[in-house]
Symmetry: C2
Subunit: 411 residues, 2 copies
C-alpha cells in the first residue's frame, strides 16, 4: 500500500472544518476552545477512560457513541476537566451541545455533538462564557491547514508542542485521508485510550468496523504510552468518518479494511509517540522494545512496566545506564519470565550498547553509554529469548520540570 503523510491534521480529510477561540475559561491571552465540524453526518467510534471516576463529557460522548447516532461536531475546551462535577457538570455538556445545534438552525440534534474537556478536576465550567465562545467560533470554521493547527493548539494544557498528523492513501481508486490531533501531557497512563485524541477521515466505512479498527489499534498505540502512571478521568479517543471520499463503503474485513487499519495505525502510532516525547517536563523520549517474548500480552506488560518505572525514568533523565532498574521493573510487572535468559541493550541513532546478557552484568563503556543516553531519544531493547512476540511502549524521563509543573498546576 502506498501511503504518504500530509499536512492538515483534522482538516486533512475532505469535508472537515475546524476553529479555535479564546473563551478565557481559566486564563486570558490564549485560545482554549476548539471545534471540529462536518456538514456531512459522520459515523463515529470511540474509546474512553477505564477510570471509575469518569468526567461528565466522557459520559456524554459514550452515550452518543453507543446510541448509533451520526455526529456533526466536536467541541473541546482546555483549562477545566469537568470531572467530579456532579449534575452541574452533565448540564454543562448538554448546554454546549444544544448551543451548537441551535447555531446550525437545529439541522441536527444536541445528540449529534460530542464534547470534551481537559484541565483541572473538580471545578465547574463557566458555561455562559463557553456558549458565547461557541457562537463566536462557528463563523470561524474553515477547512484549511491553519485552522486545524489552531484547533490543535487550543486543546493544549501543559503540552509544549501541538500534535497533529495526517496520511493520504488510496481505497477503491479514490484518494482518502485520515488525520488527527491529540494532547497530553500529564495524567497519561491510558488504560483504554489516551487523554484527548480526535481523528477524522473521509473514508466510507461501517460503524462496526470503524469501532473495531479503533479499538484494536489503541491497544498497541495509545495504550502503550505512559507519562506518569495516572490514568485520567477524561481519556477520550474518537474518530469521525464522513464518507466524503466516495469509496465503496467498507463493510467487511477485506483488503480495503486492512489498508484503512494500517493507515489508522500510522496516524495513531505517530500521535502516541509525540505525546510521550512531550510528556510533562520530558527531556527524553524513552522507548522500551521487547522482542522474543512468549506472548504478545507479556511483551506489552513488560514494555509498559519499563517505561512506567519512576526510578528508570529518573535514571534516563540523569543519563545513567542503570539497567538494573529496567530488569527490576520487568520483574514486578506481573509477567513471568526467566531473568537469566534476558539480553539488554540501549540503542538509538548514536549507537547500540549491550549491558546485560543471560543473567550476567556486562562490563561496558560507561562514557559511550552516557553519550547514547544524552541523545533526546533512547530505546531499551529487551531480548527475552523465550519466543517470537514483540511489543513497544513509549514514555519519557522524570525531570525537575515535571515536579515544578505538578507541584503548582492548579493554584
Amino acid at each position: 500500500m502506498s501511503m504518504i503523510s500530509i499536512n492538515g491534521g483534522v482538516c486533512a480529510a475532505q469535508g472537515f472544518m475546524a476553529a479555535s477561540y479564546a473563551a478565557e475559561i481559566r486564563k486570558k491571552g490564549r485560545d482554549d476552545m476548539a471545534m471540529i465540524f462536518s456538514k456531512e453526518p459522520c459515523t463515529v467510534a470511540g474509546t474512553f477512560t477505564s477510570n471509575v471516576v469518569k468526567a461528565a463529557p466522557v459520559v456524554w460522548d459514550k452515550n452518543i457513541v453507543a446510541s448509533g447516532n451520526t455526529v456533526h461536531a466536536v467541541v473541546v475546551n482546555s483549562g477545566i476537566a469537568n470531572a467530579c462535577t456532579g449534575k452541574e457538570g452533565m448540564d454543562a455538556c448538554k448546554a454546549e451541545a444544544k448551543c451548537v445545534a441551535e447555531q446550525f438552525g437545529d439541522t441536527f440534534s444536541a445528540e449529534a455533538v460530542l464534547v470534551a474537556s481537559t484541565g483541572v478536576i473538580g471545578m465547574q465550567l463557566p458555561v455562559d462564557k463557553m456558549l458565547d465562545a461557541i457562537s463566536g467560533m462557528i463563523p470561524l470554521l474553515d477547512s484549511d491547514e491553519a485552522h486545524a493547527t489552531m484547533a490543535s493548539k487550543a486543546i493544549m494544557t501543559t503540552d509544549t508542542v501541538n500534535k497533529e498528523f495526517a496520511v493520504e492513501f488510496e481505497l477503491d481508486g479514490k484518494k482518502v485521508h485520515i488525520g488527527g490531533m491529540t494532547k497530553g501531557s500529564g495524567m497519561i497512563h491510558p488504560r483504554m485510550c489516551t487523554m484527548l485524541c480526535f481523528l477524522t477521515t473521509d473514508v466510507s466505512i461501517s460503524k462496526e468496523l470503524l469501532q473495531k479498527a479503533l479499538s484494536e489499534d489503541i491497544v498497541d498505540t495509545f495504550n502503550m504510552i505512559s507519562v506518569d502512571g495516572d490514568t485520567s478521568t477524561n481519556d477520550t479517543c474518537v474518530i469521525l468518518a464522513n464518507g466524503t471520499a466516495g469509496n465503496k463503503e467498507i463493510v467487511a474485513e477485506d483488503a480495503d479494511y486492512e489498508a484503512f487499519k494500517s493507515a489508522l495505525h500510522q496516524v495513531n502510532a505517530t500521535l502516541a509517540t509525540r505525546m510521550a516525547a512531550d510528556g510533562e517536563g520530558a527531556s527524553h523520549l524513552f522507548t522500551a522494545k521487547v522482542v522474543g517474548a512468549k506472548s504478545k500480552d507479556e511483551a506489552r506488560t513488560l514494555a509498559r512496566s519499563v517505561v512506567s518505572s519512576t526510578l528508570t525514568k529518573a535514571a534516563i533523565y540523569g543519563r545513567d545506564a542503570n539497567w538494573g532498574r529496567i530488569l527490576c521493573a520487568m520483574g514486578y510487572s506481573g509477567a513471568s519470565f526467566d531473568p537469566e535468559k534476558v539480553d539488554l541493550y540501549f540503542v538509538n541513532d548514536i549507537g547500540k550498547i549491550a549491558v546485560y546478557r543471560q543473567g550476567v552484568p556486562l562490563d561496558f563503556d560507561e562514557d559511550f553509554a552516557a553519550e547514547i543516553l544524552g541523545y533526546q531519544e533512547v530505546t531499551a531493547l529487551i531480548e527475552m529469548n523465550e519466543g517470537s512476540e514483540t511489543a513497544t511502549a513509549w514514555g519519557c524521563d522524570l525531570t525537575h520540570e515535571y515536579v515544578d509543573i505538578n507541584a503548582d498546576y492548579r493554584t
Copy 2:
C-alpha cells in the same frame, strides 16, 4: 494489654547482639555492613519480594526460612544489592555465611546465617573485602543500645535517618520484647514485604505461628507503604525469635498469640510509617485513610492507589489541595465504588478541611488548606459511605530532591 515502647532496636530483645563495620563496599568513610547475632538458636520467619527478579540473598534466605533450620546470625550490606548477578552472586552469599560460621568455630552451619544486601543492582559484591569485614565485625558484637543503633545506620542507603523501634510487654508473667530496624528509602512499593527489615524477639513461639503473625501483619503495614511504585528485587522482612524470655512457648492462637501479634503490629506499623516519611527526597509524610469501604481489600486498594499517584504526590509537595487527583487515583485503582458517595478531607494537627462531598466539589478556604498542607504530615481522609471497612496507606511527596537522588544514584 500493657505495652511500652523502649530503646534498643534489634538488641532490645534478650540475647541479641549487633555490630557494624566499614567494609568500603562502594564508598569510604561510613559503616556499610551490619550484623545481628544470637547465641541461642532462633526460630525464623520471613517474607520476601514478589519481584520475578529476585536478588541472590533473597534466594539464599528463602531457602533457609523454608528449610525449617534455626538461625544464629544475619549479615547485611549496603552499597550493592547483589541482584542480577548470576552464579557469582549466589557464591557471594554462601561465602559470607560460611565465613560467619567458621568464625564461630562451626558451632552452627552456613545455613544458619541469613544474608541481605541493598544498593545498586547489577554489580558484583567485593567478597574479599566483605569477608575481612565479617572477621573484623564479630569481635565488636554487643547487646547495648549503641550497637543496635550503629547497625541500623550501617544499612542505610539514601535514608536520611536510621529507623529502629522496640516494645516491651508481658506474656505468661515474663517481660518480653520485640525490636526491629528497617531501611528505605527508594524502590519502595512492597508487594510482599518491604525493602529490608530485621526484627528480633525473645518470645518463645512456634515457627508456624511466627510466620503466620508476620505474614498477616505485613499486609497492613509494610505492604501499605509506597515511595515510588517500584517493587524492589531485594525486599526482605525477617523475624528471629530466640525464646530467651522464658515464656511458655506460644503454640496456639490463644491470648498470648494475640498479644504477640498486637505488639508485632505496633513495631511494624511504626517502622513502616518512618520508612514512608523518609522516602527519597520526601518533605511530607502523606497518609491516605479510607473509611466506610465495602470490603477490606477495596479499602487497601484505594488507599494504596492514592499514596502511589505521582500527580497527587507532586501536588502534596506543592501544598496544593488538588483533591481531584486523589479521586482520579481512586478511580483507576481497580476498586469499584460510586464517586458520588465519597466525602474527602485533608486533616492533620493543624486542622481538618472538607473539599468534596457526595459528588460535588466544595468551596473551601484555600489559605487554610495550604496551611494544613504546609505541615510535614498530612492525611487524606476518604469516607466511602458504602460500608464499614477501613485501611491506611503511607507514602510521601514527589520532590526535586527525589529527582536529584535518582538521576544520579549509580554513577
